[in-house]
Symmetry: C2
Subunit: 483 residues, 2 copies
């Protein structure tokens, strides 16, 4: 028998044939986002937003239990604030949306729609911090950020508006700030790996790639199936740069005036782009059970005369699963076939499907199908809750393991610049190479290959020589093409 053509709602290109088109189709057809009227803007639709809410919940738990608090700061930043820290201003000004009028009135000073909030937040910190007793001050805000994107935009991954959290802390010493930076970077790794099942590398950014105005920047980097990296979260030690620009001083316990040491850090809805890319397949989205808004869909299968009985049992099973704390639903639409429903929920990435028909009822069982492997198994009803729990844990783990294997397999050491270029031409992924530490070599590599240094590992490992100039290597660096 010939297989029926896939419905129009399905994904029409293969992930490994046209990755970019595949991504766009998954975003649109799984109902994750839609394009806004202003270039680079998007609407985040309920499924994607709910995943974001789960990221918020998990991260809020982490930061609140370590003494941070949420707050909210103004969207509009006077231009004069941005210019106070020179590097910072240069870094952000080309991307700023400027408000010049309110109603029909021209404003005296143009206002930036926040591209990040260091300057506006630190103008408050300079008022709020007086003494060592006010430290550490550790606030976070969840908000929208606007950066006019001139490069090709892509929903979630590169948009002119996105949602994020930005943490901003002030400490009495550099040591405390260092510890904060690393604690948050570890939280980010946990969010990426334990919740989104996305393995990441941690490390330092080079001077060229660090945050505009920071002393240093740490990062988590994920690898996409097309071999490009996605910077998935950054945590900065700002040193005393902003403290000096904004006059954030405190009296220490000895009565001496000191500038505070600061950190800032953020993760954004960009993570959702990585989630889609890393786990999706030719049928569409695949969601890790832990962050799937809908973990289980129950599909009743029946002919007319069996309808009532099957629906009754299916509804009872669904109610039982919901009562046990699973995010489950039943698809009772009469005008759709079971096959059509299978396709739709597969496109949308629902982790588990439960099929139930008259034969299953007779056998006191259901069919449990897994989205990632397409494996099906018969499960006796009394065992269902246990089986669902097991499959979800197993799916969460195997999705991570699969992505981790891909990451590990795609870190390649380049001993020479030729080898470096060969890897980039053929396989991409991360290229681990010796680097002398000079901006000029990094610039040349970027200019000639498009690859940027993504991170310098925290653990020092002796490298022979700089992959570009051959001089003594300061360390290894990981290079890659990136989103």
């Amino acid at each position: 028998m010939v297989e029926k053509p896939k419905s129009l709602e399905g994904i029409s290109v293969r992930k490994d044939e046209n990755f970019s088109e595949w991504y766009t189709q998954v975003v649109l057809k799984a109902g994750l986002a839609d394009y806004g009227p202003v270039q680079g803007t998007m609407a985040i639709r309920p499924t994607a937003y709910e995943i974001w809410e789960m990221v918020q919940e998990a991260f809020n738990r982490m930061i609140k239990s370590t003494g941070h608090k949420n707050a909210y700061f103004p969207l509009l930043i006077p231009e004069s604030f941005l210019t106070k820290e020179a590097e910072h201003f240069e870094g952000f000004t080309p991307e700023v949306f400027w408000v010049t009028h309110s109603g029909n009135n021209k404003l005296g000073e143009q206002l930036a729609v926040r591209p990040t909030s260091e300057t506006i937040i630190y103008s408050f910190y300079s008022k709020w911090i007086r003494s060592w007793r006010d430290l550490p001050l550790m606030l976070n805000q969840w908000c929208n950020i606007l950066r006019a994107e001139i490069k090709a935009t892509k929903p979630f991954l590169r948009t002119s508006e996105f949602l994020w959290q930005e943490g901003h802390t002030a400490h009495a010493s550099k040591d405390e700030a260092d510890k904060e930076v690393m604690m948050i970077l570890d939280f980010y790794k946990e969010i990426a790996e334990q919740y989104l099942a996305i393995p990441v590398l941690q490390g330092m950014k080079s001077e060229r790639e660090k945050f505009a105005g920071a002393l240093y920047t740490t990062t988590i980097e994920a690898l996409m199936p097309d071999g490009k990296a996605v910077q998935s979260g950054t945590s900065h030690n700002l040193g005393q740069h902003f403290a000096k620009a904004f006059g954030i001083e405190f009296l220490d316990e000895q009565g001496q005036k000191q500038f505070v040491w600061q950190t800032s850090w953020g993760i954004s809805t960009r993570l959702l782009g990585a989630l889609i890319m890393v786990h999706g397949d030719d049928k569409g989205l695949v969601l890790p059970p832990k962050v799937a808004p809908l973990q289980l869909i129950v599909i009743p299968i029946y002919k007319d005369q069996e309808r009532e009985k099957v629906l009754e049992v299916a509804q009872k099973i669904t109610a039982g699963l919901i009562a046990s704390g699973f995010r489950a639903d039943i698809d009772v639409r009469e005008n759709r076939t079971p096959g059509w429903k299978f396709n739709e929920h597969e496109t949308k990435g629902v982790p588990l499907r439960i099929e139930i028909g008259p034969k299953d009822i007779a056998a006191d069982s259901v069919v449990l199908a897994r989205r990632d492997t397409s494996e099906k198994r018969q499960v006796k009803l009394p065992e269902l809750e246990k089986a669902v729990k097991e499959e979800m844990a197993s799916m969460q783990k195997s999705m991570f393991d699969k992505a981790k294997k891909f990451l590990d397999d795609n870190i390649r050491v380049a001993e020479s610049y030729d080898e470096f270029k060969d890897i980039l031409d053929s396989k991409k992924g991360f290229i681990k190479a010796g680097w002398c530490g000079k901006d000029s070599c990094e610039d040349k590599i970027k200019e000639e290959t498009g690859a940027t240094s993504r991170l310098i590992p925290f653990e020092h490992e002796d490298a022979k020589g700089c992959v570009y100039c051959g001089e003594k290597a300061k360390s290894y660096a990981y290079f890659a093409l990136s989103y």
Copy 2:
């Protein structure tokens, strides 16, 4: 013995002497908000933000359990979208912040920073809605809103930027939309009354006061101690106005094209302004236990030699209360006296204080003090959890009852326009008066007295004649001065 002067941190004016200055001091000294550099903007500090998070949590539960979902839509709205619904554009354009440039480039069309999101959201709805199967579409977003305030601004109550939720639903019939409007209005009443302990009146807005572009607007209105009303939440039936302007059509079950019926509704951080005003007293903020970020503060009281023992017991008590689910903390600062601590936590509105010293320990008891009534009682340790639970419930209720009595006592019927003006001059509050329903009378009343019609009650009650023109009254209306 002479009472010591209050610390500088305390509130220096009485609530009934200079209400406006009192409000500003409470906002600043309880650490709720601080003024931003752009006129009318503010930073929302952790205590206030945490109350907002509790409002979010409660309201999310209500709307999610009734089939609504959260999403996020772009901040920037092309001018041409706003102009599509004429009334709507006229209503909002004087308050719009306009983005005209990105980086150094002038934009082809200026972009509004959302003053509300009907137009941008409905441009998406016109793409997403095709068939009766897509209805109802019920989305909500939590976001920031910008409206350039030209009148005197006041933190929370009138600011150029605020946080809110805006719900936007599309239905197949007017009847369904009507029901949605009322369900949400009841949720708003529940948030105000059951969580914030703020009693409200529900009703319809007049044509003059309805939302720009709505068929009709419903409202909840609260009364402040100075006799002015605060519009605390609105729920609109938009009819088919926007559906026609944005072409939001669906094929009904008979295959006929129809325009959808829409609603929109919102509550904002304005509620926090009402909360401060309604419950605060001469010492500062008073928070209802249900939404107090910190419900209980434990203050150990000791002389040097008793320090260790008292701290040990106090810490154990605090840990026990936290384990029982109360939001409790202990104030162990060594450099502050117990009296100083009492004042500080009173200023910040913490509902309950537990005092514990050597005598209390000897008696196996603590002193439990209530913020709203200043009542103190001795409680035996084994009874503590029960006593705390009782006091919190009793405090929540008596705060509401007190505010309800004030509201009820300040609704006065005016039989004549002279009486109307007398009430406004002396007592303020709500004035219930017959109204013919004509805009002209409403306009004249506003012009001559400053009072606006706040609502028309849902339950019809025959009124003698219009308080302004004397003609036949269509209904009663509630008038008041307002924020």
